[in-house]
């Protein structure tokens, strides 16, 4: 049958260094980080225009600010404007690191390496706990998290450990795994269909099946664009929900 050899996982996500050694080298993933930072800064810089009728990049920036403001109003509510820069840059940074998985020549979503999602989830963890501590005081925040009101007193034996695990451990872990696994799965999906397509090109009579994996590849590439946006949106939304829950613990 087909000489179909799926590359091992390390071939898909590991890239050789252009310069430097194994520990402090520059490879494709580092370049994607760099590009994403530059593009995120560009959104902020180009959106600084103050024309009454926005044009070009100012239009894009205003639409995205409106979009993030909608998230902030729904999730954080009162006092959420302070978190706009954080959530906006979080959204754009994740979106750009994801979308580099689609862009030809680069085709590596930097979020498919666990370091970036881990860092972002840790950052969000620090921000939402920090904002809760600043807003309610350390004791007040811990009390609102570990001892939610309206629970019969003997149930706290059960509720407190569950709340501790779910808020302080499961939240950052699920944020990390969601972004990482979604992007890795999408990347592997694209690699699978690309390998299939290229294997069919060199095959003999199997060529009649050639359009099928190619159409699937195009379709999944379009689907990946949606996933990139959706993962950035979900990450920002959840960060907003966690910050809102830490600021206003009563609801």
């Amino acid at each position: 049958m087909l000489a179909l050899e799926f590359p091992p996982l390390s071939h898909i996500v590991n890239w050789p260094e252009f310069a430097g050694d194994d520990t402090y080298g520059i490879n494709k993933v580092i370049l994607v980080y760099f590009f994403a930072v530059v593009l995120t800064l560009l959104v902020f810089i180009l959106g600084r225009g103050k024309d009454l009728v926005p044009r070009g990049m100012q239009n894009v920036a205003e639409i995205s600010v409106e979009f993030i403001r909608g998230i902030v109003r729904e999730t954080i509510g009162h006092g959420g404007e302070r978190y706009m820069p954080f959530l906006l840059s979080l959204f754009f940074f994740i979106f750009f690191t994801n979308i580099f998985g689609i862009i030809p020549v680069i085709q590596m979503p930097a979020s498919a390496r666990v370091a970036l999602p881990m860092f972002l989830a840790g950052l969000t963890w620090v921000v939402f706990i920090g904002s809760g501590v600043v807003a309610n005081g350390p004791v007040g925040y811990l009390k609102s998290v570990l001892f939610p009101p309206g629970v019969p007193i003997f149930l706290y034996v059960l509720v407190t450990p569950i709340e501790f695990i779910s808020v302080f451990l499961v939240r950052p872990f699920s944020l990390m795994v969601r972004l990482f696994a979604n992007m890795l799965a999408g990347h592997i999906l694209l690699v699978t269909f690309a390998v299939l397509t290229s294997a069919l090109i060199v095959a003999k009579w199997y060529v009649i099946f050639l359009p099928l994996p190619f159409i699937a590849l195009v379709f999944f590439t379009a689907f990946e664009v949606l996933v990139c946006f959706l993962q950035a949106y979900v990450f920002t939304l959840l960060a907003g929900v966690y910050i809102g829950g830490a600021l206003h613990p009563e609801h």
Binding site: L4, F6, L9, G70, I71, E74, T75, S174, V177, R178, F180, A181, N182, L184, A185, L230, Y233, V234, L237, L238, V241
Partner: protein, 103 residues
Amino acid sequence: MVLCTPSTDSPLNRLFIHTRKQRKGIAPMLLAEITNKGLAALTYGLGAIGPGIGIGYLVGQSVQAMARQPESAGTVRTTMFLGIAFVEALALIGFVVFFLAGA
């Protein structure tokens, strides 16, 4: 992508090889072919059933809510994505475990 390659490394395989010595038959030999990778793939498939049902139910109910009350579509959509994110996490943890076990 070969999912079931015979290898003597996995503890499960050692167990079945031990069984094969004791009683000869086709079933233990077939079982000996199953390795960690194959089991991981199978288990991820099993683990994807629950979140699949969950997301289907969730989105269906959200569409119904949006159709019945179009003016609250924005709130319903946000809550729907939140719910999807939580349900999907289970399937994605299964996906990560699949890689950890299959590696």
